[in-house]
């Protein structure tokens, strides 16, 4: 019965002449396309740079000044931090509708623990961060262990956390002045570094600690996602959880850790929020969900999981920030700005898709 396989045997004696297609030589455009394809976050970056250039030309120094540009950074800081949390979850093919609620509840916990119970502010902050992680853990447990769809889990948790927030805080605001005198640590992320202001202290580049935290967070997450085993597992789980499980990833543990980390980041966002608005207000953050998801999607992260980078999300958030401020400065009124941002969301993604298509 062996003779039929002789035709196969013959082959193996053949020397290992390695078959190799000729590399296709291309010009600059080709190499650029290839680069874009390999680094998807380049695409939103290009859109961002183009947007800044266009608004810079249209508006001149009013827009293209250190003051206005760093203002955008400040305005997107909260959305960016929450967007980082959202990115992690979306990379696992989930979605987190409760990010805004977790953020607000955490900030309320920090505030109330300090002012209502008189705890040292450091302890209160730690409790707030713990609270965020706990909310994240519940999300993660329901998604990973109970195998419920993330959308519905976080939709439910959104309502639960928000209602808890209102019930617990009794809708009471803690005023900025009180915080500044009694617990300035809560406003830590609001501290501003100003570079190059005029004598009166106006203009110049303003970096709040919140902005610096955002940038550091995005860089750290980029490193973790690219360079550690945990990061690869996050991508694998988002890509195909069944295949990941079969090839040795602890899918449940990875999912729970992602949701917990997301909750923790949201709690940091809550802290940064106190820095930004000065006060602790239980009604903030209602739009954080939709804004963070917008940033993530414009940033090129696939809602089906496994593809995209946190850096892209940051550019996505900045694109929205640039358009919002740019359009307002151009004199568009609030409703028109709203409409144009809608158009530009679609246009930004269309450009992105177009570039990707060309490079394929």
């Amino acid at each position: 019965m062996a003779d039929a396989q002789d035709y196969e045997k013959l082959e193996t004696s053949n020397a290992q002449t390695i078959a190799q297609f000729a590399e296709d030589e291309r010009g600059f455009v080709g190499r650029l396309q290839h680069r874009l394809h390999l680094t998807p976050s380049l695409v939103p970056l290009i859109v961002l740079v183009l947007a800044i250039i266009v608004f810079g030309i249209l508006l001149g120094s009013k827009f293209f000044s250190p003051f206005a540009l760093t203002l955008i950074l400040q305005q997107v800081a909260i959305v960016g931090i929450v967007g980082a949390a959202q990115s992690l979850v979306i990379l696992t093919a989930g979605i987190d509708l409760s990010v805004g609620a977790i953020m607000v509840l955490s900030s309320v916990v920090m505030g109330q623990f300090t002012f209502r119970y008189g705890l040292p502010v450091e302890v209160a902050v730690a409790c707030g961060l713990l609270c965020g992680s706990l909310c994240g853990f519940i999300n993660g447990w329901l998604v990973a262990v109970m195998k419920l769809p993330p959308f519905i889990v976080t939709l439910g948790m959104w309502q639960i956390i928000l209602a808890t927030n209102f019930l617990y805080s009794a809708n009471e605001t803690i005023r900025s002045q009180d915080i500044a005198t009694e617990a300035p640590l809560l406003q830590f992320f609001g501290t501003t570094l100003t570079i190059g202001a005029d004598e009166a202290g106006r203009g110049g580049a303003n970096f709040t600690y919140g902005v610096i935290f955002l940038v550091a967070l995005v860089l750290a997450l980029t490193y973790v996602l690219r360079e550690t085993a945990w990061g690869r597992h996050v991508y694998a789980v988002g890509d195909d959880p069944e295949a990941a499980e079969l090839s040795g990833v602890r899918v449940k543990r990875t999912l729970i850790s992602v949701y917990m980390l997301s909750g923790l980041i949201c709690a940091f966002a809550g802290w940064a929020l106190i820095g930004r608005i000065g006060s602790v207000s239980p009604t903030s953050g209602q739009l954080a969900n939709i804004e963070s998801i917008t940033a993530v999607v414009i940033g090129g992260i696939s809602l089906f999981g496994g593809r995209g980078s946190v850096l892209g999300m940051l550019f996505g958030a900045l694109i929205v920030g640039v358009f919002t401020l740019g359009l307002r400065l151009l004199g568009a009124d609030a409703q028109w700005t709203y409409l144009l941002i809608g158009l530009l969301i679609i246009a930004a993604v269309a450009v992105d898709q177009w570039i990707r298509r060309v490079s394929n």
């Binding site: 400040q74 209102f166 501003t192 106006r202 006060s279 207000s281 903030s284 401020l325 609030a334």
Partner: protein, 318 residues
């Protein structure tokens, strides 16, 4: 105690401290009079359908009367009619229905007057500078809810700016107006809107805000660039943190409203109606019961009646 009389309170949202206090006022009064109270609210400002559903629920529940702050003052009318047809007493709180007689009674503040008071005060405080003021207007939302429009237009009228369509903000042509932006009535929105306007013109020196949280947010934006002392902020509401902010110099003046009063009066009226069928009466010369509005400031301007911050603190809510 078993409550024989049941009432409903339907507010626009139950997260805004204004409505929270209204609910507390109603609850306290209901407790006192031995009336059962159920509270309802829209999920967001402008959430009209939930209010319609709430009215239906109250009818199904066999309530004697409804207190409502309508999200959409004219759309709610047919539902209100349905409730009245089913034998319920309906009282509009804070926001009059259109037409106003669609409800059995209205206990409200005059929001236009509230705006006008701070407008006049601001013009008087700025004195000669009023003619060259640079004004930023921080409104509620792009859907232009009535309350927001009334306060905004009242402020402009009081300040001496010619109105365009009085039912709409944003169509004024006065060059002193730097721009309008929306805040959703929160600190966050207030700060962002203020930043946007500052980027447009950093010389703004007069800011109108829809409520005190957005005023606090605007103040943070000014503070971050060191201009908190050369800009005058005015606001409306009269909540305790807001009045405290007037004391601290964050806000120049605010128009104070009395939600607790509205709610407790409303509960009293329904209790009376349930007892012997008496209907509430109106304030003199008005087609509604005015629960009043007062300008709160420690820097009174000539010719404009105001109360001191201390007095304001005594009457404040939330």
């Amino acid at each position: 105690a078993s409550h024989s009389v049941s009432t409903c309170l339907i507010t626009k949202t139950d997260t805004n401290p204004f409505f929270v206090k209204m609910r507390e006022g109603a609850a306290a009064k209901a407790e006192e009079l031995g009336v059962e109270l159920k509270t309802f609210a829209g999920k967001i400002d402008g959430d009209h359908e939930t209010q319609v559903a709430a009215i239906e629920t109250c009818i199904a529940d066999g309530a004697k009367g409804i207190l409502i702050t309508a999200s959409d003052s004219s759309s709610i009318v047919s539902s209100v009619q349905q409730a009245r047809d089913a034998g319920l007493l309906v009282i509009a709180l804070d926001t009059p229905l259109t037409p106003i007689d669609a409800a059995d009674a209205t206990f409200a503040t005059d929001n236009f007057l509230a705006g006008e008071l701070i407008g006049k005060w601001a013009a008087a405080s700025l004195g000669a500078d009023a003619a060259s003021a640079k004004i930023g207007l921080l409104n509620l939302g792009v859907s232009q809810p009535t309350v927001g429009v009334l306060r905004n237009q009242g402020f402009l009228q009081g300040f001496g700016i010619e109105l365009g369509n009085p039912n709409k903000w944003g169509d004024e042509t006065d060059p002193r107006i730097v721009g309008n932006d929306v805040t959703a009535g929160t600190e966050e929105g207030g700060r962002k809107a203020m930043e946007n306007l500052l980027a447009k013109d950093s010389e703004i020196n007069m800011v109108y805000t829809i409520n005190e949280p957005s005023a606090a947010g605007a103040y943070e934006a000014l503070k971050s660039i060191g201009r908190e002392n050369d800009v005058l902020i005015v606001s409306v509401d009269g909540g305790c943190p807001g009045v405290q902010n007037v004391a601290d110099g964050v806000i120049g003046a605010t128009s104070q409203q009395y939600p607790l009063l509205m709610a407790s009066k409303g509960i009293e009226a329904i209790a009376a109606w349930a007892k012997d069928g008496t209907k509430p009466t109106f304030s003199e010369g008005k087609n509604f019961f005015d629960t009043g509005v007062a300008l709160v400031t420690d820097k009174p301007a000539e010719g404009i009646e105001s109360i001191s911050v201390k007095e304001g603190m005594d009457k404040c809510w939330g």
